[in-house]
């Protein structure tokens, strides 16, 4: 059997313009439109514009191939470097309990970041994540700790609130065409105001049903419950984005909204669905946060906005390069948590972790830009 030409080179699913997939060796005049990459209002490309890659179909030049390779290993290497540095500097870093701690701490941010990945995949933003999660935390605390409502009733109620907020965002953006940037900032402000109304501006602590608390703090087979929930959420989101009609439609809108509309995708309805999922997951994380912390105070809930964006953008620089994807987001969340955890072990003040989160986001964006464009600015 003669070896296939593909066999000579390791398959690389992320090559920006595949050599092995070449079917017309000569770049015909019609090769030009397809190499003109910036298409549609795709979010990532708005932030990190890709230049038109020269050559297109024929073959990858060496630097493009190198960039694709760096893209594949760059982010995992960065994570590995962080682990090595922290384990050298803090001797309690690589211990079983600390690793478990990192995963527990990553669970709630991962739930929120998963929702944001869906929103970003359809080319929109959601900046109301902190407001949704915070309101969910406060509402959950009020319902179960102050009103004595059963968690089995309170949980659906809080999630329904999340759906309602997502509906508001989605209708305004999808059906009325208002820019998501300003809609979600405004909604965030409303929600944060509401946190004070619902809580009466006082801290709520104590009075949480013990069953709920032990569920949120407990483990199944040694794995924290919240980690299991986060894993399930991420798994379902992966199926949604990669294997369902809705996921296809979300991606199509993110990739080329006009083409999706012409193909018959109801773009307004799909955007509504996307915003609902994002807000639903943020409210889920918020109510689990209340159950775990057993206290709630307005504006003092999960601070997930920047870490979620950082995780999604780090994730877009790996696996499916240039696309927001769930595996990438998981790695992004883990890198953020490893950093935060390592800094705590090194006795760095809490406020400093904001500083480092910002730096990580910038490095990730710069990295994604270099991977995608080779660092050319024009």
């Amino acid at each position: 059997m003669s070896p296939k030409p593909e066999g000579s080179r390791p398959a690389d699913p992320t090559q920006p313009a595949g050599g092995v997939l070449t079917e017309e060796p000569v770049a015909a005049p019609d090769a030009v439109p397809q190499s003109a990459q910036p298409i549609g209002p795709r979010l990532l490309e708005r932030l990190i514009p890709r230049p038109a890659t020269a050559g297109g179909v024929t073959s990858l030049d060496r630097s493009a191939r190198r960039r694709a390779f760096i893209g594949q290993i760059g982010v995992p290497l960065m994570g590995l470097a962080l682990i090595v540095v922290f384990s050298l500097m803090a001797d309690n870093f690589l211990t079983g309990s600390n690793i478990k701690d990192i995963f527990s701490q990553a669970a709630l941010p991962l739930i929120v970041a998963t929702g944001l990945t869906i929103c970003l995949a359809m080319g929109e933003f959601d900046l109301s994540l902190n407001g949704v999660a915070g309101l969910a935390t406060v509402l959950m605390a009020v319902l179960v700790a102050k009103k004595g409502m059963s968690p089995l009733l309170a949980i659906p109620l809080v999630l329904a609130l999340g759906v309602a907020i997502g509906t508001l965002n989605g209708v305004l953006v999808g059906y009325f065409g208002v820019a998501a940037l300003i809609v979600t900032i405004a909604v965030n402000s409303i929600l944060q105001g509401w946190e004070f109304v619902i809580s009466g501006s006082v801290q709520i602590f104590g009075g949480f049903p013990p069953g709920l608390v032990s569920f949120a703090r407990g483990s199944v087979l040694g794995i924290p419950t919240l980690v299991l929930i986060a894993a399930a959420v991420a798994g379902l989101a992966w199926v949604l984005l990669e294997r369902t009609t809705l996921g296809r439609h979300l991606r199509a809108i993110g990739g080329n909204a006009e083409a999706a509309r012409i193909a018959g995708v109801n773009t307004a309805r799909v955007k509504l669905a996307g915003f609902i999922i994002t807000a639903l997951l943020a409210s889920l994380a918020g109510l689990l946060f209340a159950a775990r912390e057993t206290n709630a105070y307005p504006l003092n809930g999960l601070d997930v906005l920047l870490p979620s964006f950082a995780a999604c953008f780090i994730g877009a620089a790996m696996f499916k390069i240039g696309e927001f994807n769930i595996p990438g987001t998981i790695v992004g969340v883990m890198i953020a948590q490893i950093t935060a955890n390592g800094l705590i072990l090194l006795n760095v003040a809490t406020y400093a972790s904001y500083f480092f989160q910002g730096i990580i986001l910038l490095i990730a964006l710069l990295f994604a830009r270099v991977v995608v464009t080779g660092g050319r600015s024009t």
């Binding site: 313009a17 595949g18 997939l21 070449t22 079917e23 017309e24 015909a28 005049p29 019609d30 090769a31 030009v32 439109p33 397809q34 003109a36 990459q37 298409i39 549609g40 179909v57 199926v239 294997r243 369902t244 009609t245 809705l246 296809r248 439609h249 991606r251 199509a252 990739g255 080329n256 006009e258 083409a259 999706a260 509309r261 012409i262 193909a263 018959g264 995708v265 109801n266 499916k320 240039g322 696309e323």
Partner: protein
């Protein structure tokens, strides 16, 4: 007037002249041995059909492209432009068709936009900077020339379309050019608005400027020009005084003599189609400039729509496809009126292949399979109520669909669509239409940017769709494509159907002629 019978004033030196210019693009000869001299104080009307070489010639004069052969003379001296800046310095100004006016700035601010001003602290300014008083004087002079002095303080968005264009011309005039190329300056202007434009052009000509007036509106060209130059297939085929021409004779010059015999028309789209009308539009009007369009397409028939850019051909297709809401009229499919949404149109059996597949057709990162089934994946769902997709089955189905369209190599379904060639991307979009199981197929520029081989295949598949009982409506800016495909061709002009050609009447000449002339 100093214009001689056969053209411009022969004695004076040309402001700019091209001599024996040829230009080739990969696989296309865009210009062949073109010579053209522009003299001060004349308006040269430049006409030609799509692809005749007008844009190439404009780009060469504007310094955007360098000709492969031939010479360029400015004021009688040979020169070569290495970029647009050289052309501007040589006094050549091009006013493009697309409006570049900033709606929130005033007309005056729009005129002076980008002019380097002399800094108040002299030493910091650029060499080309203009002193403020000098600029004010120039703006006043230019506005007076163009007759827009009274509208300088009006916001760009409140200016009438003709004033907006005059503002763009005024901006070009600030550089004091000696040659000005106006690309379709009257496109989309009402007659009274166009009148204002003519006044301005005439004023500039009287002051000794050399102007080129590029337009599809033949009567305007005949009226305003002191000389008419006709380009066809990259050659100057005629250069004459406007009074020796009529609109119809000029249209014939643009369209050219028919090269192949007429029967070629029927050869491609032979076959007796049934008389069962599938699609019927009556009195269709769209706000974007389509009026009173009525048409019928029968089962097994390929009907073409021809027209210049902006004639409304694409808009008619989009209205039928449910992408543009009609202002009036009805669209009836198999006897039932369809609601004006894309979803409703798809469910009623209207497949639409958009023009400009990069912007309207493909989502580059999607697989070919997902591209084909986007908007119609019901049969691949795990359960009717559970829209999880069985992607292996989907890939198999798509592969066999692509096979019927001769998309090679086989097994492309799981690849990102961006890796396919243009022709194959178009086939993938065609497969989407097949997958949706349509009765009516609307093709907008089906072979745009596709190589010759793929074009022939696409044509074969379009004809096959009709043979298998589809009703096909094709809009194309390439007359030869319609000749090869259609049994009937509707020619549109300014948003209306002005000619209906059938059988042996369908020739390239007839299509071009009718789309230029309109109702007359």
């Amino acid at each position: 007037m100093t214009v001689s019978a056969n053209g411009g004033p022969q004695t004076a030196t040309a402001a700019i002249e091209v001599a024996g210019v040829s230009q080739t693009y990969p696989g296309v000869r865009a210009l062949t041995d073109v010579s053209l001299a522009l003299h001060p104080g004349e308006v040269v009307g430049l006409v030609g059909h799509n692809g005749a070489g007008k844009s190439t010639l404009t780009r060469i004069l504007a310094g955007v492209e360098r000709p492969a052969e031939g010479r360029l003379l400015v004021g009688g001296e040979e020169q070569s432009f290495h970029g647009p800046q050289d052309a501007i310095e040589a006094g050549i100004s091009v006013v493009p068709q697309a409006l570049g006016i900033v709606p929130t700035l005033s007309a005056r601010e729009n005129i002076v936009l980008g002019v380097p001003l002399q800094h108040r602290l002299g030493g910091l300014s650029r060499k080309s900077a203009i002193d403020r008083d000098e600029l004010d004087a120039r703006v006043t002079a230019v506005a007076g020339q163009l007759g827009i002095a009274g509208e300088l303080r009006r916001a760009g968005r409140d200016c009438s379309p003709s004033v907006q264009r005059l503002v763009m011309i005024a901006r070009a005039l600030l550089r004091r050019p000696s040659v000005m190329l106006l690309d379709e300056p009257t496109a989309a202007l009402h007659p009274e608005e166009a009148e204002r434009m003519f006044g301005a052009v005439e004023a500039l000509r009287a002051e000794g400027m050399a102007l080129v007036f590029i337009s599809h509106r033949l009567d305007e060209v005949l009226r305003i020009s002191s000389r008419v130059v006709v380009l066809r297939q990259g050659r100057v085929v005629a250069e004459c005084a406007p009074d020796t021409l009529t609109k119809s004779s000029l249209a014939e010059l643009v369209a050219g003599r028919e090269l192949h015999a007429a029967p070629a028309a029927a050869a491609g789209a032979a076959g007796a189609h049934s008389t069962e009308v599938i699609l019927r539009c009556e009195g269709l009007a769209v706000a974007a400039g389509v009026q009173n369009v009525s048409l019928e397409v029968a089962r097994g028939e390929v009907v073409g729509i021809a027209g210049l850019d902006g004639a409304g051909c694409g808009t008619v297709l989009r209205a039928i496809a449910g992408l543009v809401r009609p202002a009036a009229g009805s669209i009836v499919l198999n006897g039932t009126a369809i609601k004006p949404t894309r979803r409703a149109a798809i469910e009623a059996g209207v497949a639409f292949l958009p023009d400009d597949r990069v912007h309207n057709g493909i989502v580059p990162d999607m697989t070919v399979a997902a591209t084909v089934t986007l908007g119609g994946d019901r049969e691949f769902r795990l359960r009717r109520w559970l829209p999880v997709l069985r992607i292996r089955r989907e890939a198999r189905t798509v592969d066999s669909l692509l096979d019927t369209l001769d998309l090679h190599p086989r097994g492309a379904a799981r690849r990102p669509v961006k890796f396919l060639s243009g022709g194959n991307q178009q086939k993938a979009l065609m497969a989407r239409a097949l997958n949706q199981g349509a009765d009516v197929y609307l093709f907008d520029q089906p072979t745009e940017g596709v190589d010759v081989g793929a074009r022939q295949e696409l044509h074969r598949h379009i004809l096959q769709l009709a043979q298998e009982g589809g009703a096909v409506l094709v809009s194309s800016s390439e007359p030869e494509e319609l000749v090869a495909l259609c049994t009937r061709v509707l020619v549109m002009h300014d948003g209306r159907i002005t000619r209906r050609l059938t059988g042996a009447q369908i020739t390239e000449t007839a299509i071009v002629h009718a789309s230029l002339v309109g109702a007359a």
